[in-house]
Symmetry: C2
Subunit: 434 residues, 2 copies
């Protein structure tokens, strides 16, 4: 079992969860997320250990081994060698740039996001086809791929009746950002690979995840996962919790009717485990909408306000100009029954949970940067603004852009000819059963 992007917010808890369940886990990450923090001057509110410390602590506390392999999916040779060596039954793919605002900073960030995500995912599809065509690919997509249509959002596909005929087709997508567009492209590429090569995949359109505590992260501070509150990497709910913990007004962008799907990080663990235990058929590209509840920003602000009220504290809410271009009052009803059908028992977001999130935050308020908390640093119409420019480190950005170029270079590099005796200089990938 390979977890790609195992240093990330969900990737690390997932690696531990699967290890606890007895899977042999290979944890792959190039630590890009930490580099992007350095670039943009942001930081997890909860301190996180290095990958080396994490896997060592995990082994010490549980006796279980997680094999950490540092490489980038855009480096096809490294990825291909990893897949060929471990021959996984399943690959769980979190290894993408996952921030909408980061993708909207400027042209270079949009290109970097789409090149990184689309090429990495393409490389993975070809490696699976070549070495383990029956492997189950579990890919993390996003509910933000769909946008906010005026009809019910189905799980990946919709049966359309039109002029007296009918077909079941991919649900039309109107994504929210260049980041979400990269995931739409991934979904399309995966769907194609299943149709053409007979691969089997589950595309999980995940909602906004909250919480840091799983049965594994709370074992030791070295096993904690990140908590982001800034406007690039954080979520509105996380920001509200930090604002509540520090006595600031909650800042809602725009009218606050923006409604999305949400889920507890423990439910992410359960959803992916259920997905693993119930693989799709060969050639099937299955799509689940992975969230448990819908909230508008105003509803989240009210939940936080109510949680504080129970401690006798008053919380105010202010509305700021919306840095994004999005509907602020809209219909939203997304289906999410397929994981429930597999047996998911959701944890719901309530006052108690909000309270425990605020308690977690309160232990680290000395690490809060008030500017990053209060001011959006990227707008959808004009890109990175003065806050972005104040915090961003151009020399770090330059290094990262070069690194991307180099990795994309590797992605388009010609593989050396096989040794004499092989049947050709451009080996065709193995044919998948289909």
């Amino acid at each position: 079992m390979i977890v790609l992007g195992a240093d990330g917010y969900i990737g690390w808890p997932m690696a531990m969860h699967l290890s606890r369940l007895g899977h042999r886990v290979v944890a792959v990450d190039n630590l890009a997320r930490r580099a992007w923090d350095e670039e943009g001057g942001t930081e997890s509110l909860v301190p996180i250990a290095t990958m080396e410390q994490r896997v060592a602590r995990w082994h010490e506390l549980t006796g279980r081994t997680i094999a950490y392999e540092p490489f980038d999916l855009c480096d096809h040779d490294a990825l291909d060698a990893c897949i060929a060596r471990w021959r996984p039954d399943a690959v769980i793919h979190f290894a993408e740039q996952r921030s909408a605002p980061f993708s909207m900073v400027d042209r270079e960030h949009a290109v970097r996001t789409q090149a990184n995500n689309i090429i990495g995912n393409l490389n993975l599809l070809f490696s699976i086809q070549a070495h383990v065509p029956t492997c189950h690919l579990i890919k993390l997509g996003s509910m933000g791929e769909y946008g906010a249509p005026n009809i019910d959002i189905e799980e990946g596909y919709i049966t359309i009746e039109h002029n007296g005929r009918s077909d079941r087709l991919p649900f039309p997508k109107v994504p929210h950002s260049f980041y979400h567009l990269s995931k739409v492209a991934d979904s399309q590429n995966i769907h194609f690979a299943c149709r053409i090569w007979g691969l089997r995949a589950t595309d999980l359109n995940q909602g906004v995840v909250y919480g840091c505590e799983t049965e594994d992260t709370h074992l030791h501070p070295d096993l904690m996962t990140r908590f982001d509150y800034d406007s690039i990497w954080g979520t509105a709910l996380n920001r509200f919790c930090v604002q509540a913990a520090t006595g600031q007004p909650l800042t809602v962008y725009g009218k606050g009717g923006q409604t999305r799907g949400y889920l507890d990080i423990r439910d992410t663990m359960a959803c992916i485990t259920l997905t693993l235990d119930n693989p799709p058929d060969e050639g099937e590209c299955r799509v689940f909408n992975q969230f448990t509840e819908q909230f508008s920003l105003n509803q989240l602000a009210e939940l936080v306000t109510e949680a504080r009220r129970q401690h006798g504290q008053e919380t105010s809410v202010v509305h700021l100009p919306n840095p994004r271009v999005e509907a602020e009052e809209h219909y939203y009803n997304a289906k999410h029954t397929r994981l429930l059908d597999l047996g998911l028992q959701p944890h719901y977001l309530g006052n108690t949970l909000v309270d425990s999130l605020i308690t977690l935050v309160a232990r680290h308020t000395d690490r809060v940067d008030p500017v990053l908390l209060e001011r959006p640093s990227v707008t959808w119409r004009a890109g990175g603004n003065e806050v972005w420019r104040q915090y961003a480190r151009p020399e770090r950005r330059s290094e990262l852009a070069s690194a991307t170029a180099e990795l994309v270079g590797r992605a388009t590099r010609v593989t050396p000819a096989p040794p004499a005796g092989a049947d050709g200089i451009h080996p065709a990938p193995a044919v998948a059963a289909s």
Copy 2:
């Protein structure tokens, strides 16, 4: 007016057509198509002049000037300088890798196709936003983006009634290849740029184009455009014409029920001119299906057979195993009324036209390579086969892969800081009116 990809099969006739109409035409191309021919050992059946010869001959014969600028769209600095210098009212974007089989050769070709097309198009969107936000982007897409759904294909958008509600959404796409997938990603990125920045675009989902002769190409052999018959770059109709001219059986892949939209190259000229003359509103991403007739492969083979019969010649048809993964008998009804509504007067494919195509081919039969004519070199399940390996030049491929890497490098390179006095080191793009 800028024509991107002006050295290509349609790009070159388009540049001349617009020049004839009195537009100031800037013709951009990095000659990638010629390099890919060298890489794969393929060649236009009709000899074509260099871009320098073409623009010189055009000037000599008409007194009109086409400014040729050689650069790659993945080189953002070059593209941005060109857009900033010429400040075009319209950009016509043909500058993409446009072969489905080429994108299916192997991983590197899939990655090269998607990186080249998606990044080039993203760079263009950002340059238009920065310098000419009211410019009309005319982007060549493909009918192959839709696939072959069991419902009528609408022009870009479909109104879906679902559970008592209704929305007009992008038509769901099930594309035929990694190449077509790159165009789907482009369409999504363009749609987003129109929504967010208020750009105006027309996405032309073009059918299969046939014919080489426009009122300009026939003026002089140096002004001819290419004719491809091999299995990577050619179309089935072109292959049939060459087979007819050389007395070979027509080779239909699979059952032959594969139905697509087709149009005459003169209608392409007319469609794009009509599109230019009737621009969309600000913020509008308009989609036209650009073709005039539908044919199955069997119907095309019958047209060719009938044209030969009128010259007293018998033609046989053989069915070969299909190298592609696609439905071979399917419903297909794609709408294409919007260009007709603007005034398009189609040229229809009939015996006479097939006859003139065969006559054109007959002048060059000494240049036909029988292996490239008869044998597909790429299959959808296993990539480039022994024919591909026989013709492909690995050293050329290696150079091209390196060039791609370098250009993607430029695409993700950080632009130097502006001179002192500017307001920041990461200039935000100009805000488009929206």
